[in-house]
């Protein structure tokens, strides 16, 4: 990052005085204004900005909800209804927050699969990528604890089922579960600590996001060709080019978000969560939120409790090893004809797992879950390593610019010097 800060020269005397004491303007300038961005980024690259928007949206709506919410087992459900009925625009803020969690996951899944498709996880972006996996894990923990807070039936039983997973750990499992609950079953202490952590974790996410963005600025962004920026002509400065595109994408995403909030606000939730939590009655069918379903299906696919928990954990942890499991030298799947097919099979398997997670664990659903789970792991452990040796990738273009010229209809070309501002990046 430091190699760009020199390009920023404060104009005013105060600016010079301040910059010499805290060079923050130079940092912003080098990271978000002059920073060279590949000129061929598609809208799939705007999901980083969309995720930042969702994170801010969740924190702001959450802070306002916390002003009215009461984290007490006897009062929580009622306080949520108070927000929905009596607080001015309370219904709007709560629906924004509840649906916002789903939108956050929609965006993060697009972001993750974009990364899988274009090989963004490969060298030199391994640390950037692993930080992303950590953000995803923090998001899952935050979302899970947030879903417990309204203290409806699905909150209570979801919390019971998920926390009980830890009892699968041999010897100390039971004790760990009691420490998680702060009691002998999910109860008031559990709700209290989940609220505390639900408030804390988003700020930890902010911290890891800062590292994620920092790590992004060292190698720069990947792009649809997967080949690095070779000359100034391959890139454009972040502002205004990427900025305006990101803002446009964020607003389009807000349209999508608003549709759910205003027209289908309860579609992504569960009807059972409008019934107050009752330890004496279980919902007939306990299901997690949609964004956990593929992992839930993997959990249930293994007939052994401990085995299921390990498989579910491994399903995410294995992502961290992708940069080394994938042996192909080529980043972008656009130039990997064989892998392209496996990529889409993998996407289909993930979606099928999600659907199976919503089904009761009986009959052929279990067998289908087991087949899909086996394939899920085979994708990482067999397909990725083997394909690197077997596959003959298509010839890569010499530069981003060359590839882009081929894409542009009519071959209008790029005016010389128009993209001369950014520096060369390796």
């Amino acid at each position: 990052m430091s190699d760009h800060s020199t390009t920023y020269v404060p104009k005013s005397a105060f600016g010079k005085w301040f910059e010499s004491r805290l060079p923050i303007a130079g940092l912003v300038h080098s990271s978000f204004i002059a920073f060279p961005v590949p000129r061929n980024l598609t809208y799939f690259w705007t999901f980083g900005a969309i995720l930042v928007f969702m994170l801010v949206s969740q924190i702001v709506t959450g802070v306002f909800l916390a002003m009215y919410y009461t984290p007490n087992a006897a009062l929580a459900f009622q306080s949520v209804e108070h927000i929905m009925r009596d607080v001015n625009y309370g219904w709007l803020i709560r629906y924004l927050h509840a649906n916002g969690a789903s939108m956050f996951f929609v965006a993060v899944y697009v972001h993750i699969f974009r990364n899988f498709y274009y090989g963004s996880y490969k060298a030199p972006r391994e640390v950037l990528y692993i930080l992303g996996v950590i953000i995803f894990l923090l998001m899952m923990a935050t979302a899970f604890m947030g879903y417990v807070l309204p203290w409806g039936q699905m909150s209570f039983w979801g919390a019971t089922v998920i926390t009980n997973l830890f009892s699968a750990i041999p010897v100390v499992g039971e004790t760990i579960v009691h420490y998680l609950w702060g009691g002998y079953s999910v109860g008031n202490p559990t709700l209290n600590r989940f609220f505390s952590l639900h408030y804390l974790l988003p700020f930890m996410i902010v911290g890891v996001v800062a590292l994620h963005v920092w790590a992004l600025h060292v190698p720069g962004q990947n792009n649809p060709t997967g080949i690095p920026i070779k000359s100034g002509k391959d890139a454009v400065p972040f502002t205004p080019y990427a900025t305006i595109k990101d803002i446009f994408a964020v607003v389009v995403f807000m349209l999508f978000f608003a549709y759910w909030v205003f027209y289908m606000p309860n579609y992504l939730g569960h009807a059972d969560n409008y019934i107050p939590a009752n330890p004496a009655v279980t919902p007939s069918h306990i299901v997690p939120e949609w964004y956990f379903l593929p992992f839930y299906a993997i959990l249930r696919a293994i007939p052994d409790k401990l085995g299921g928990v390990i498989a579910m954990g491994a399903a995410i942890v294995i992502w961290c090893f992708m940069p080394w499991l994938d042996t192909s030298k080529v980043r972008s799947t656009a130039y990997r004809p064989l892998y392209k097919q496996f990529f889409w099979i993998f996407v289909a398997v993930c979606i099928t797992l999600g659907w199976l997670g919503s089904r009761p664990a009986e009959g052929w659903y279990v067998i289908a879950s087991q087949i899909c789970t086996a394939y899920y792991f085979a994708h990482f452990l067999i397909v990725l390593p083997v394909l690197g040796f077997v596959e003959r990738p298509l010839p890569l273009p010499n530069s981003i610019l060359e590839s882009v010229m081929g894409v542009q209809k009519g071959g209008a070309g790029i005016p010389a010097g128009a993209a001369s501002e950014p520096q060369t990046k390796g």
Partner: protein, 294 residues
């Protein structure tokens, strides 16, 4: 060929299996509601009738504990006049206290009070009703639903179908019938066509002519006094108690969508103009294989 037919048959059976697994219950018919769709609003007269049904039939067993009397005169609801609400609230006895002597006492209700529940607590409600407490109705249409299944749960998003709960409730209220031959209805249970498992603790609550509806100029009831109509009216009323800001939500939604459309249009052309400085936006990669590879 045979093998393939079998596979398809297995797939079809597989998809329909969960419907039967859920208790062999029938799928409720989808009804027309004034509050459905992006511009839906409540029908005031229907909500007022529905409230009458709730008050005269349901209220003896079911609470409405998240709703206050003042809500009845709020915009976007049944919109009774404030004087009507005040008079109505005064008809209820509300427990208050303790007074100066330290005793609890009863006083007439005020618009700010919540609807009092018919039973002091859940155990009392359960013991008075054969072991199963009648649930509170404040959130019913949002707290009940039925299995939509593939692919309807996808098309629902585009149709904005979110009246599953309301449709189910009408089906339930009108779904009492004779148990089919060979079906053993346990003691204290009642056969219902739409209830999961078909055996419901609640006896058939509605019958024709049970609730008198307001008359129109011709001296005829404003709506037919039938079980079907009662069920629809009380369900519409409960939809409002569950989602009292539904009208405001849909109205604001339209404004927000419109604004975002305009803003995204403006941003789109701004973006085009900005990118024109570097010869226009170019995305992605050339369709490989590249021909001019050196």
């Amino acid at each position: 060929m045979m093998k393939r037919t079998l596979l398809i048959a297995a797939a079809v059976l597989g998809f329909s299996a969960p419907v039967f697994a859920a208790g062999g219950t029938a799928v409720p018919p989808q009804l027309k509601w004034s509050f459905q769709g992006p511009f839906g609003t409540f029908d005031r007269a229907q909500l007022q009738r529905g409230f009458k049904v709730y008050r005269e039939v349901c209220a003896s067993c079911h609470g409405l504990s998240y709703v206050t009397f003042r809500n009845l005169s709020q915009p976007g609801g049944p919109e009774f006049s404030e004087a009507q609400v005040k008079a109505l609230a005064a008809e209820y006895k509300i427990q208050d206290g303790p007074n100066d002597a330290g005793d609890m006492f009863e006083r007439p209700g005020r618009p700010a009070d919540r609807f009092p529940s018919p039973f002091p607590n859940e155990n009392a409600a359960a013991s008075a009703n054969g072991g199963k407490a009648p649930p509170d109705l404040s959130l019913m249409p949002k707290a009940r639903t039925y299995e939509r299944g593939f692919p309807w749960f996808i098309t629902d998003v585009f149709r904005q179908y979110s009246e599953n709960g309301a449709d189910y409730l009408v089906a339930l209220l009108t779904g009492y019938e004779e148990a089919p031959a060979g079906f053993q209805v346990p003691e204290g249970g009642h056969y219902n066509h739409y209830f999961p498992g078909n055996v419901i603790a609640m006896p058939k609550p509605l019958s024709d002519g049970q609730v008198e509806y307001p008359k129109n100029e011709a001296g005829q009831p404003q709506a037919p006094e039938t079980v079907e109509q009662y069920a629809r009216d009380v369900t519409a009323f409960l939809m409002w108690t569950a989602e009292p800001h539904l009208e405001a939500r849909k109205r604001l939604g339209f404004q927000v969508m419109l604004f975002l459309l305009v803003l995204s249009g403006l941003l789109y052309f701004t973006k085009k103009k900005v990118w024109a400085k570097v010869g226009g936006e170019v995305e992605g990669h050339a369709t490989p294989p590249m021909t001019h590879n050196p």
